[in-house]
Amino acid sequence: MKVKALSRSTAEYTRETKSDIQRMPRNVNPELHPLERAREYKRALNSAKLERMFAKPFIASLSGHIDGIYAMSKNPWDLDSIVTGSGDGELRMWSLSSQQTIWRAPEAHRGIVKGVCSVPGGSSDRFLSVGTDRLAKVWSRSESAIAADGVTPETVATYTGKHAFNGIDHHRTRPLFATCSSLIEVWDVDRSEPIANLSWGADTINAVRMNQTEVNVLASCGTDRSIILYDLRTSSPLSKLVMTLSTNAIAWNPMEAFMFATANEDHNVYIFDMRRMDHAVNVLRNHVSAVMDVDYSPTGQELVSGSYDRTIRLWDVNRAQSRDIYHTKRMQRVFCVKYTQDNNYVLSGSDDSNLRLWRARASERMGAKSNRQRASVEYAEKLKDRYKFVPEVQKVLRQRNIPASVKKASQTKQIMLQSRKRKEENERKHAKSEAKPRVPERRKAILGVTSR
């Protein structure tokens, strides 16, 4: 007779001392795990619910400005500081970790501060600002010490332009900066006059953005509904794109140098490939009023946009619908938004003179996590991803409480769009087949592209 029966030694399955970890043997045989699909689904549903329960995106409102915030800049070399410019000409530098003003210039400009930008390079803390007073000023927190609170510190340098400025951006590597007014002027920091004037038939230029990777490319958008790309090496325009409505802001993708996103008056954000601008790569359509500003996350995978409808939306660059919407009762029209360089926070400056700090992922919590915690978060993420198309889970993940005005406006907008579409279809039915071709959504807003 050969016989063996199961007899486990208790010592092998229990811990010797209290400081040991418990032995948890695994067996992945599916027979021991019945109803695994149903249980996994239940866990996915639970984690979706938990995500919504823990979604508290708002962190802080930084107050101090007296007028609305219309310009904002982050410093790629400094995670902590952010510079804002307000409607009464005041500039403030904020520390995000302490959530306080660390530097301010009350009368930096006469009139509105229209743009601020940091000077690249980790060594200096200089930054530039432009206002409607036709001045571009260079500031530094360390170089011009504050005399007393409430007194404007001295500038490092001042440049005088011919027209009221609308925006400014600094070159990534060279000591150059570009301002926009009725034309684009490129300045060398050592000269008092611009070294180049760039224009291609626009009235007023709304914004100018230098590409931070492909450093000689510059994009601008004007009130004549155009988006123009220039080459700094030849000081000549590359191409011009005309859309149905004008563009308010431009953001270059930090990871893909040829992609940029534009915030349009027609409530949409368009993503373009500068090599092929006859169609948008993606159209992000959820806002119900003009989009005022847009910014890429440092990974280039996400976007944040602020709108005149008093909301901020977060987007995945590959999807047409927003991933999340942020709003508060007190937040007014949003004029500038920024994604922080650590990919974890979003900043918004609005008409109500407050700078707001938000989480980039509403339910995520900062701080050190234990291994188990991290594993559980990752597991929950995976589950949600796997079951996101099951109706119950989808419903939980999608549901958002949004302001009544936005909801109403989006419903109205939906009806309008549908009726427009219906009308178009009706016209198509009664026209010759080639007379009214269907235009893809990605080409609809584009009137024309020319290149030199």
Binding site: M1, K4, A5, H33, K42
Partner: protein, 622 residues
Amino acid sequence: MVIAERLEQAEARFAGGAFAKGTISRDGILDHMEASEMHSNSSEGEESEPLPRSLREKPAKSDRTDKKYVKNDKRTKAKNGDQSLDAKKKTKEPDEISKRVLSRSEKYQRGFKPQKDEEPGKVRSKKSQPKLDHARKRREAAIVDAARSEVLLAESAGFLEAEGMERTYRFTQKQLAENLDISSAGKIFDLKLNEFGPYVLDYTANGKYMLVGGRKGHLATMDWRSGKLGCEFHVRETIRDVSWLHNEGLFAVAQKKFAYIYDSTGAEVHCLQKHVEPTKLGFLPYHFLLASTGMTGSLVYQDVTEGKVAGEHRPGYGQCHVLKVNPYNAVVHMGHGNGTVTMWSPKQSQPLAKMLCHKGPVQAMAIDHSGTYMATSGLDGRLKVWDIRNFKSLHEYITMRPAQSIDISQRGLLAAGWGPNVSVWKDALATQVYEPYMKRLLPSTTISDLHFVPYDDVLGYAHSNGISSIVVPGAGEPNFDAYVANPYQTKKQRQEQEVKGLLDKLAPETIQLDPNFIGKLDPRTQTQLAREQLERERAAYLQNKAEGKYLDNEVKNKMKGRNSTAKRYARKRQSNVMDLKKLQEMERMERELQEKEAKRRKVPEEEKGALNKFYTEKRQTR
């Protein structure tokens, strides 16, 4: 207390066994294992990677090298790189091995078919195809990893082999005890409880605790391995069935009038009055539902966390004594007096399936853990094995007397208690066998209930004179998953598992014959669905028409009233405002009325007769 004494006696009987015996037999096992490994290595000599034991047993099906697979499996290759370096001889690429593992690891595939060759993408979208490919690769890698993780399993299953003229069913428990190690031998015991029998029993999911209930009201719980008594008391009324709930903290008892829930100290927690005269209990651990059937023949599901009745069904076959929960899909099977077996889900008023299994009342039932096989016994003396995926009968076994109780172990052993006998068959589900694996006779008793102990090679059975426990080598799953059922669970772990279990509690709606229906995509489009619906309706109409179910006027809804669209229109617009359209409408109606009147046959004076004075011409104008 009665049981405590008996247990002490039983322990004392086996305490004398020498440790030496255990060590000898263990060495024997080691020899055996080594031999089997040598054998498998020689059969697949070229393989460098140590494969899971179960995989090594089968010969390799294909040895072709697949270029695509080399590309696919870079991940696993990198991961297992250091392992393969350790291997002494490397004649084949690791990816070849994992390919072979993949082709043979059916157990972990869950219906997924690994792609054979480089097939062109089936999806038209260029965007989706890479995603699908990626998902497929991930899945293949997961299957290979799962199969490879078998080498980490610490324990191997028990076995009993006869040599020469021996037959396994001739071995007595005494003989086994002499050859087994001391701790296994200690699992063979008899508890003489002849006052309150016959008994019923149940084990917890981890097999650590036993619950016994005597027909005449005796209840006890114990840690049966150590012989430690949990609680013991007398309910002073009939007990028909007992069942543990999700852990050893609570148990349910089917008593004379109602079902009751007691806690581990024996205090009555609930009286479940919805369960009237219950005969059988079943617990659905992942749904936290207690199912019962009784003298009324109805099936009642009660949620033990909320106390709500989750479903109540009346099969309509009279009183019922057979109820089992299918561990694979949590469907409740009921065996009825007319020989049918019905399968139920709490939220569906009709059975999911009905099977006519026996030519007489169903006596007992057991369902295996993979949800493939069901064994039933009936008063017709048959013990039948069914494939419940397609509801087909597989084989029949004949017991001398109708089996009163049957059970299937985790590793697929089938045990039946008939009269005073217990028989255990091995491999009796997938194939027909002609002699039992083990058997035992307990003269002058009647077996009332039997259960295999989960994760152990022990069969516990209850009879008219008490409880017995015998060792059946090879019955239990040797390697437990500590997150599913842990025989060495600490109090903290039990508490944590309880909370996790409650968080993952499944809704009663998720119980279906196919438990994997959740999250599956219905590939039909909306138009396809609509068309199918239309076709179904049309077919039903044509069939009804062919059967003459419709008279002509039934099909055509011909109302004889004076309602018409025009009249309704006119009525709706009754206002002081007379617009052109309304006038036109009224004129038209007037005209029609007159035309109709003109068409009518004039009744001559003479036909009017005696009732002349009541006859008036129909009003001509409005």
